[in-house]
């Protein structure tokens, strides 16, 4: 099957230039994220890696295991990613290749992206406007469902009980032959979220129970893949998620806000595998409804696109595509629509087995305006490769952009239709080194620089707030990751750790005397670190993890700093309880083991120690 020649890349901790991995027969095709991403940093988590985060949200995983800082407005509340010191709106989010950021808000809430709904996760760092389009400034997040072929019938039910009234139920069922794959996931996650905290907003700071942060989230994910002959594949995915939340008030306030989010996402892909080529036609839909108290915001995005990927020779591979997006928005204060059309081209030149370059381009038009042209250029060079070690040098330069959100442009009153797109330029260089052998030891380090211009900020003009292209920001930083893994008899163990330093300062602000100039952006820690130790055999596993978030300021001029914090999590699992064909994996996990009192954002209470017990039945 020609399918075999094609790639799915499940990058390891250190991505190597691996566009020649053969697709295993059971996997459904997905265009490789890093096929033209030479020189860019990508981290991925497989289905197995994600197991430790069952019943938790994407926000938790990013905060605990990546250099991304997650701004959390309380437990289970709005959580937005900050890649390399950029804002929440500078991260593009994709689900099965569809951009799912809200077009009105220009960002996503990581708390309502439950891990239960996805099978695989990748993060890409730095400007990637050319590869991923709008909003890929700080980086991008790629969520995938990965249906499989030839696995017959499988089903599982998972039940989780945890502190603060956590009660989650997950059902999964899948059936597949060699040519047809069906998979269904249904979940409901609920938490009273009535954690105790010290209320700094009350006289004598009593210990109280949070009484307005309950949430319930439920959804269904349906995947279908069909090889209707040896070189055609159809893949459909559907995801409905509904989250109802009491909005946790900031300490000192007694607001009783309610929020309900409904999202419907659907993608249909057609692949035709030709002679060294893949044609992909894609249609998709993302509909969001956000009800805040009684104010309803509805948006819809409809996508039609296609691209062609062709291996021309041993040296050259090219790709080109087009995408049309229709955006509809019906909010409490305005209704509008927006049309976007974008074309993108990629070329990869493999000078040798060890050296590859890529060039990517993208042009996007929204309504009658051109977004900034975004080229990128990257290189992967395997400097050393032998039985004992491997050294990879990666380097790239690129541009990114963000079209002003619909709220930025059309909110009544205050929206500013004359806003310019935000625009950024970045460059990075990184080394990834690996000692191979019984003990596998790897280290990678990346240095980046980035500037973001025309950064949009909302400022008050009397009682009306209005956005403008105010700030220029200059970022630079270092991201370091290390890992050691080895075996001890039947036991395997793994230790991974990372540290990131990130300096993101305003170079232009509100007028020349803006005290923010030269200072670190608000809620952007300069230092972050995390580490996990993991060991087990084929029945038992245990992990201990910790993450550290450094000081961060509340405002752009930095007079008030939030203290740093470090949290520890740990857990054990056992998967050898069996009865006939049924297996009963169990696991137990403790979060915030040392009951650390901390806030991510000023006066937003966060929970102390919590326990979670997972019980599953697998068929």
């Amino acid at each position: 099957m020609i399918l075999f020649l094609w790639v799915v890349s499940l990058f390891g901790f250190i991505p190597t230039p691996q566009d020649t991995v053969i697709l295993s027969e059971v996997e459904v095709y997905a265009p490789a994220l890093d096929r033209f991403a030479q020189g860019q940093k990508v981290i991925s988590w497989s289905k197995k890696d994600l197991m430790d985060f069952e019943g938790r949200a994407l926000a938790d995983l990013l905060q605990e295991q990546s250099p991304v800082f997650v701004r959390q407005y309380g437990a289970g509340m709005l959580a937005s990613p900050s890649f390399r010191g950029t804002s929440a709106g500078h991260t593009a989010l994709f689900w099965n290749g569809l951009p799912i950021n809200s077009p009105s808000l220009g960002q996503s809430d990581l708390s309502i992206l439950p891990m239960a709904a996805i099978d695989q996760l990748s993060l890409q760092f730095g400007n990637a406007g050319a590869l991923f389009g709008n909003e890929a400034i700080g980086g991008s997040v790629h969520l995938l469902t990965v249906p499989e072929f030839g696995k017959e019938f499988h089903a599982s039910i998972g039940q989780q009980f945890g502190s603060f009234g956590k009660y989650n139920t997950h059902l999964k069922a899948s059936y597949s032959t060699d040519d047809l794959s069906l998979s269904t996931k249904v979940y409901r996650e609920f938490s009273k979220n009535n954690f105790p905290y010290m209320d700094l907003g009350q006289i004598s700071t009593p210990l109280v129970k949070e009484d307005h942060a309950a949430f319930e989230q439920k959804g269904i994910v349906q995947d279908l893949a069909w090889n209707f002959d040896s070189n055609h594949q159809l893949k459909a995915a559907f995801w409905f998620n509904q989250a109802d939340r009491e909005i946790q008030p900031v300490m000192g306030s007694n607001t009783q806000d309610m929020q309900s989010d409904q999202s419907l996402r659907a993608a249909l892909d057609y692949f035709r595998f030709g002679n060294h080529s893949v044609l992909n036609l894609k249609i998709g839909m993302v509909k969001d409804e956000l009800l805040f108290n009684e104010s309803l915001s509805k948006t819809g995005q409809f996508f039609v696109g296609g691209d062609w990927d062709q291996v021309i020779s041993d040296h050259w591979t090219i790709k080109g595509g087009l995408r049309f997006t229709q955006v509809q928005a019906d909010l409490s204060t305005y209704s509008t629509s927006d049309q976007r059309i974008e074309s993108y081209q990629s070329a990869k030149f493999k000078a040798s087995d060890r050296l590859a370059f890529s060039l990517n381009l993208r042009e996007l038009i929204y309504q009658d305006q051109w977004a900034p042209f975004t080229p990128s250029l990257g290189m992967d060079w395997v400097v050393i490769q032998n039985e004992k070690q491997e050294l990879l040098l990666k380097s790239s330069v690129g541009k990114g952009f963000k079209v002003p959100t619909l709220n930025d442009r059309f909110w009544e009153p205050g929206g500013n239709p004359n806003l310019l797109p935000e625009e950024s330029t970045s460059g990075e260089i990184g080394f990834a080194h690996q000692f191979l052998g019984e003990i596998n030891w790897s280290n990678s380090i990346t240095y980046y620089r980035m500037s973001v211009d025309n950064w949009i900020i909302w400022l008050p003009q009397g009682s009306v707030w209005t956005p403008d292209n105010i700030r220029n920001v200059s970022n630079q930083g270092i991201e370091y990751e290390g890992a050691v893994k080895g075996k001890l008899g039947a036991w395997d163990w793994k230790l991974i750790w990372s540290y990131s330093w990130n300096r993101a300062v305003s170079t232009k602000g509100i007028g020349e005397s803006d005290p923010a100039i030269g200072k670190q952006l608000p809620y952007t820690p300069q230092h972050q670190a995390n580490g996990q130790f993991n060991f087990g055999n084929n029945a038992f596993r245990a992990f201990l993890g910790s993450f550290f978030v450094g000081e961060r300021s509340v405002t752009a001029d930095n007079p008030r700093l939030m203290p740093s914090y470090q949290l520890f999590n740990g857990g054990v699992s056992f998967n050898r309880i069996q009865w006939g064909k049924l297996s009963f994996p169990v696991s137990f996990q403790v979060n915030n083991i040392f009951n650390k009192n901390y806030q991510v954002l000023y006066l937003r209470a966060m929970p102390g120690r919590s326990f979670q017990f997972n019980l599953s039945i697998n068929l």
């Binding site: 007694n254 009153p413 008050p460 803006d514 005290p515 509340v554 752009a556 001029d557 007079p559």
Partner: protein, 350 residues
């Protein structure tokens, strides 16, 4: 800052009217925070980082975050008003609480933390606190259930009664056992009998009532319209309107500072999208009328140091961080400027 004069009814004391009530106890040594200038920084919506700064105008010594420094916990609220009364200073947070501190030391002495929604101002009569409150927002962000809350006890406690008033009550003014309520949305002044805890009279007034003050032996109300501001005085024997002076000050924000010689400074703002802020210099009794006395952007609070004849104009700097205060002499020449807390909205001059 709003004028609070309830304990200064003796007529001759009016010659040194200012914001303070403790002036009358000149025997007692005054605490560190009962001298100089308190700067009220409202804080940012959603961050609850309101705070009080203290300035010694003689030495220019500025002390930041006084509440947190003295109480080892954040203020945790949006600071809407500061009201000195007796030994206490009442810090009204429109996020639903009143923190009560000793005016001299700023040490916490109590709080009203339950039963309030969006409190705006406070007045003390006898042993009762009266707190104007917008009430909760309804679905369309209107406030049809505004009230004045009653709390029995100078050091706070629970709300014992809510007296219904017109929408969006702002400033309160105590006169004997009566409390005047500035009903800002509907153009009303309600008069509450503090003993009966009920509204005994409702006056229709011009404009949107913003603030009461006492001048030239009379009680006045400052209220704003689109193209005019109004200064209305009252007969205090039968609670009727006495005089109304309308001045052609457009786009007044409701923030006003009272200078010497009956000169007032009114903050104006055209708002979005033209957006020009300004200060008009007017007099209710004299001929002074300089509509464009000052212009700029980001003007927020305003105050007048009568003892030094200096005008304090606060700039919110777009709430992106700390605000700035610029000090002018009475002719409008800039003397100095300095950084203060977030959203500086008012002053208390001792």
């Amino acid at each position: 800052m709003k004028l609070k004069l309830n304990q200064l009814l003796g007529a001759f004391l009016l010659s040194f009217i200012l914001f303070s009530c403790s002036n009358s106890d000149s025997e007692q040594p005054r605490g560190a925070y009962e001298q100089g200038i308190l700067i009220m920084n409202e804080g940012n919506f959603g961050t609850n980082d309101g705070e009080v700064y203290h300035l010694d105008p003689a030495t220019q010594t500025l002390k930041s975050n006084v509440f947190e420094a003295e109480n080892l916990r954040p203020f945790a609220g949006l600071l809407e008003d500061m009201v000195p009364a007796g030994e206490n200073l009442y810090l009204v947070a429109n996020t639903g609480k009143v923190e009560i501190v000793d005016a001299g030391t700023f040490k916490s002495t109590g709080a009203v933390s339950g039963g309030l929604d969006q409190p705006r101002s406070l007045e003390v009569v006898g042993s009762k606190l009266f707190i104007s409150d917008y009430g909760p927002y309804n679905a369309s962000y209107a406030t049809p259930d505004s009230y004045v809350a009653v709390v029995d006890g100078l050091n706070g406690g629970v709300v014992s009664k809510k007296i219904e008033v017109s929408n969006k009550p702002e400033d309160l003014f105590a006169y004997g056992k009566y409390i005047f309520v500035a009903g800002s949305e509907e153009g009303k002044v309600e008069i509450i009998d503090a003993d009966k805890e009920e509204v005994i009279k409702v006056l229709e007034v011009d404009g949107h009532p913003a603030q009461f003050f006492e001048s030239d032996g009379r009680v006045w109300l400052f209220s704003t319209g689109n193209d005019e501001v109004y200064f209305q005085s009252f007969h205090m024997d039968n609670f009727t309107k006495a005089t109304t002076n309308a001045l052609p000050v457009a786009n007044a924000t409701g923030r006003i500072a009272f200078g010497n010689d009956n000169i007032f400074y009114v903050v104006t703002s055209t708002g979005w999208p033209d957006y020009i802020d300004g200060v008009s210099r007017v007099s209710v009794l004299g001929p002074e009328l300089d509509l464009d006395w000052m212009s700029g952007s980001g003007f927020y609070g305003i105050g007048y140091d009568k003892s030094r004849d200096e005008l304090y104009v606060a700039n919110s700097n777009g709430f992106q961080g700390n605000g700035t205060i610029t000090v002018y002499d009475k002719e409008g020449a800039e003397i100095r400027s300095f950084e203060t807390g977030r959203g500086p909205s008012g002053f208390l001059f001792y």
